[in-house]
């Protein structure tokens, strides 16, 4: 059995190596390409336009990609664990819809011009937080969190928010519509160090906190009632994990917009490779999500360079195709 734990360490090391390789490739390529030697020289000199590109644009983007990819993938794996439903992903719960509505309202009412550009992610987060609050409290009855009800309420809130966004888009100026659409399609293009720090710290804290519940998530694979039979306080576990997953999604979406498929595809693919034990799945999902986003961002930046494609287009297309291929080859049920 100890062999299994060694295998897990080996898997994590491999993913770390892949992460470093992805980061290296991503930092090297773009409108201007750098060799490995050039990278070292530029970072050592700390001067020039190349240093500004690396230090202010590419490295923060990679860090943000890792944090957002990790957070969305982690959120997906948590929600799929709670609901025992492989089709649940962070956006199913209406959190992205709430964030989109918050941002759309901020754009339509020009709140950014009053409170500054920082208000856009803040209003996204407020929208996400209100959604989390609504879904959570509407699902509680007799002090018990009904997870099936929560899922349905989440889906409905998502529809309502999408309709509200469409309403705003159909009644506002073309310029505002463009801003909303651009935000919804998602992008890692932010140089705000403070926001990047917040997302990074939140996603790492989310991973640590969730990992403490890895055994409880493992027990939930048997269903809520059987997990209770094994002594798991399912009510507390589900509440804590739902809030963690929602906050991770809310924070990520409010900073980078709606980047789809990560929370659905990455956990599934990693489950096929590493199995269903959450003690390995949580870490590998976090790292895998980060690697996936970093590489998708590289493609989105370079495929029609000097222009940039929305990253959501790449995650959906690449992720979807790889996932269908992996699923058709998989023997796993």
């Amino acid at each position: 059995m100890k062999g299994k734990y060694f295998k897990w360490v080996y898997y994590i090391i491999i993913l770390f190596v892949l992460l470093i390789l992805s980061a290296w490739i991503s930092v090297s390529f773009g409108e201007i390409d750098f060799s490995l030697i050039e990278l070292f020289q530029i970072m050592k000199s700390k001067t020039g336009i190349e240093y500004t590109i690396l230090n202010n644009i590419r490295i923060p983007r990679i860090l943000l990609g890792l944090a957002v990819g990790g957070a969305l993938s982690l959120s997906g794996v948590i929600l799929q664990g709670i609901y025992r439903n492989p089709l649940v992903e962070p956006y199913t719960m209406g959190i992205s819809g709430g964030a989109a509505l918050g941002v759309a309202l901020a754009i339509v009412f020009q709140l950014s011009s009053v409170f500054g550009s920082f208000f856009l992610p803040v209003s996204g987060f407020i929208g996400a937080a209100i959604t989390i609050f609504l879904v959570y409290f509407l699902s509680i009855r007799n002090n018990h969190l009904n997870i099936n009800k929560m899922l349905l309420i989440g889906v409905m809130v998502s529809f309502i928010a999408s309709s509200a966004v469409m309403f705003l888009m159909s009644t506002t100026s073309t310029e505002n519509v463009h801003s909303i659409v651009f935000w919804i399609m998602g992008s890692l293009d932010t140089s705000n160090q403070f926001l990047i720090r917040i997302v990074t710290i939140s996603s790492i804290s989310g991973l640590v906190l969730t990992y403490l519940f890895a055994n409880q998530l493992n027990a939930l694979r048997l269903g809520e009632s059987k997990a209770k039979h094994l002594g798991v306080n399912t009510n507390l576990t589900i509440r804590v994990l739902f809030i963690v997953a929602s906050l991770l999604t809310g924070i990520s979406v409010s900073v980078v917009g709606v980047i789809g498929f990560v929370g659905l595809i990455v956990p599934h693919m990693l489950r096929m490779v590493f199995g269903t034990d959450y003690r390995i799945l949580l870490i590998t999902s976090f790292l895998g999500g980060g690697i996936f986003i970093i590489l998708c961002d590289l493609v989105s930046r370079t495929i029609i360079s000097p222009n940039e494609l929305p990253i959501g287009v790449i995650t959906g297309m690449i992720g979807g195709v790889i996932f269908i291929f992996a699923l058709s080859k998989s023997k796993i049920n």
Binding site: A214, N218, G223, K228, G231, N333
Partner: protein, 265 residues
Amino acid sequence: MLVVSDLRSGYANKFHLKEISLKVDKGSLTGIVGPNGSGKTTLFMTLTGELGIQNGKVIIDGKDISALSPREKAHKIAIVTQNTEVFDISVEDYVLMGRLPYKKPFQLFEKAKDFALANKFMKLTGVFEYKKKLMTELSGGEQQLAAIARALCQEPELLLLDEPTSHLDIAHQLSVLNLIQKLNADLGLTVLMIIHDLNLASEYCDHIAMMHKGSIHTKGIPEDVLNYKNIEFVYDTVVITQTNPLSKKPAIFLVSDKVLAQNKK
């Protein structure tokens, strides 16, 4: 071991147990029988803590069950249900999940003792040779044996079984019940099981409680409970009871309406 006194529980404005009292002695193998809708599952869900107690008490090993935390309850009671939840998990990992109630709050990995117990109970239940196989690769009977091994890993004082043989063919039914009888005899494990098949209940249980419309109609040793009067009253059907020539326990024969009509003539 388990004392249920004046227990009332159930669903709001729906079915209720009516002041049930039941005593399960330490080391006994007790069966709960009764027709569909008689309250067996409601009683079971109340004992497992899934349904709240409205009135009365359930005392296990001298302690009120409603005062126990989920973890403390899992130390005392282990449960095997009729449906074994299976997914892509190895038999060994599945059985090791029974050690979860003994893990400290932030203990993520199993200790040597956990592996030793899992191996012991996998051997005892006959699934050790499949330990590296996935649960989804096992037959229904083998899955149920693995579920029993997982329950034993909880080192419970009481094993609750909810129709453990309902989906199995007769060979697997017997292998599961023989195992339960052996665990009861060898480990002194107290067993309380819901069982639909009256012949199996008669053959394997020391004591039987027969439920009817939310209360216990009668209880006692199989010879006293499984007579045609009780069965016909509770199940509202005609049966013939005889004695199994080998075990000397009651054996129940069912009669179709056609045969019954022919014999009435």
